[in-house]
Symmetry: C2
Subunit: 346 residues, 2 copies
DNA sequence: ATCCCGTTCTGAAACCTTTCAATGCAAGGA
DNA sequence: TCCTTGCATTGAAAGGTTTCAGAACGGGAT
């Protein structure tokens, strides 16, 4: 640990006024140099620019926004910044925003309602031009209120019954169906669904799709074991693994469909650590096909979602909503794809 | 795809002035209700608050900032938002910021210089109170300029020779040494270091630490094979694996130390896919100990860094720099820890 | 009745930028 | 010489908030 002196805090920052003074021109001219350089003669422009660098002028964006009423900034409120699925979605948004010359702020609600509310409040006060969000609760009145108050919102990866937003989703019900159909095809007859809490729309939808396929295969709904988790995390996957191991042998499933890859990876670790073989003793299907699924202890079969496209599309919808006066809200739905790997193929 | 009508864009948003008018009080009183409610009589306060909700008043933070000259907002410019190491660091920062009642914006430079510059420029213009950053190039004059112009900067996970910032690092040289010492202890005599580009400080430091340990073990520097990668990603890890496989059998290393876990995981996948056994045919050590390291095809030995503590400490330093008039810059260095798993233990 | 004090409320100034109507100026045409 | 035209520049107003010196008011003490 070494110590040094602190950054200067005293000096007021130079404003356009200071620049104008130094360059011997008026405020308006400085502003013109900044925003319409073509309207300024070469000589004065050069003089003004010199003054700017000499003073170390940094435009005060908050003042500009105040005057202009828009910020050219979007924000994406992520549900869980440590889940690679969402960072990939964020990347899609980022690229679209960059192309449109917009700044993007990422916020992390960390799955907590209170944190999400705080972020939304702050973003609205910051007057961002629009908000993309994967909400904790898509039906929250909060979101509706925000659009009513004039900040457009696009829902990412969540369905919503409200007509106040654009939304971009993947057909989770279909994804759930694909996972179970795959397991049924492989001959499994004792199958579990691992995921929770059911307050998460995805968890419900994937479960329903799973049930659909399960019934279509001639089974009874109630035969599909549902192991609830507290969250969709690696840790919860491990816990679920222990729960399964606790079942009497003949009630134990031969295959498991997990609500996402984090849960599947946790489950996989727990299962392997107890000496069971995957898929011989237990087949596992995950969801999302994050980059680490293919590199897992046993490469994971997973339902892939078009993550970047999801983000890009959401951003494009928001851009349209902001710029296009006769924008109409759209609900875009993508289709998932099953990627079969060793964890079910053996 | 269904369509609906757009969000209202026309209506000007209500300002304190509108609230004042409606509540039959002056501007100042509304401001007092907002900022010093105790100085306002219960009756008027209630009246003003009612007016606010009736009008759907949302405070204009940009105007407030303009007036106050501070924003109560930090930003963290991440080097790679898809690398779990950085999202964990971000989480540490987030928690510290939340505790101090500060908003945090995350930006992703994606390892690109241009994107980083754009973000920094924008943040500075936004007048954030401080910037945390894992820079593409810690020696960049850009960073120095920003502090000179009055925005404090804290460097996260990168060393810097400049005395203008606080910084928080982990002893990478020691980490590199630990990795190689571990491999030497396990009896390996043909070892490779995989990582690049060398323009990344980490890549260099870990390599140097590795060389130190290698020499101490009685080997010649030049015997430590250095396989360069273009980036620290899973994909580049795979490529490196192919390169190694291309070596003549007797020149091939029996153990590899990778500059981070993403590279190690990519390498691991490639190696396994060609039918080699880990660690019998090739032992692998990673770096960072991200959550997915333990759950890899072969659980990965890795050098763990205190990720959240890194972020938390960085945020605390920045908070001190912003609030404490006689703040002094500090360089905090954490110590890494080797976590041995199957990928080297067999 | 007068004075003083504390509480509550007021309104103008300041923060920094953009915009726009108006001004100044030089060159070209009549 | 006088007008016109077009370009370069100016300066005040506006945008929404906070601050602060001071006004208004009510009540208690004298």
């Amino acid at each position: 640990m070494s110590k040094r002196s602190a950054t200067p805090r005293n000096a007021r920052r130079p404003s356009v006024k200071d620049v104008a003074e130094r360059a011997q021109v008026s405020l308006g001219t400085v502003s013109n140099v900044l925003n319409r350089p073509d309207r300024v003669s070469a000589g004065t422009r050069e003089r003004v620019e010199r003054a700017m660098t000499e003073l170390g002028f940094v435009l005060n964006e908050t003042a500009r926004q105040l005057r202009m009423g828009r910020s050219n900034t979007f924000a994406y409120v992520m549900l869980d910044a440590t889940n690679p699925f969402f960072t990939d979605v964020a990347r899609g948004i980022e690229l679209a925003a960059e192309k449109a010359d917009l700044s993007l702020f990422l916020c992390n609600s960390d799955g907590r309602d209170a944190r999400e509310r705080a972020h939304l409040e702050h973003l609205q006060q910051q007057r961002v031009d629009g908000i993309l969000i994967t909400p904790v609760d898509p039906e929250s009145a909060e979101l509706e209120r925000i659009t009513l108050q004039g900040t457009p919102v696009v829902i990412v990866d969540r369905a919503t019954t409200s007509g106040s937003f654009c939304s971009v989703t993947v057909d989770d019900r279909l994804g759930g169906r694909m996972a179970i159909e795959h397991l049924v095809d492989r001959g499994h007859t004792r199958v579990a669904y691992v995921g929770g809490p059911v307050s998460i729309g995805q968890v419900r939808e994937r479960y329903e799709g799973a049930c659909d396929a399960w019934r279509d295969a001639g089974h009874r709904d109630t035969d599909l074991i549902h192991v609830q988790t507290e969250a969709l995390s690696v840790e919860e996957g491990r816990v679920a693994g222990e729960r399964l191991a606790g079942l009497p042998k003949r009630a134990r499933p031969t295959a498991v469909f997990c609500a996402n890859d984090l849960v599947a990876l946790g489950l996989l670790q727990q299962v392997i650590s107890t000496g069971q073989r995957v898929p011989q003793d237990l087949a596992i299907v995950g969801y999302d096909d994050i980059a680490f699924a293919a590199g897992a202890a046993v490469p994971l079969t997973s339902v892939r979602q078009p993550r970047q496209a999801l983000g890009r599309t959401a951003a494009d919808l928001l851009i349209d909503e902001v710029n296009n006066p006769d924008h109409e809200h759209q609900q875009v739905e993508f289709t998932p794809e099953l990627i079969a790997r060793v964890s079910t193929l053996g």
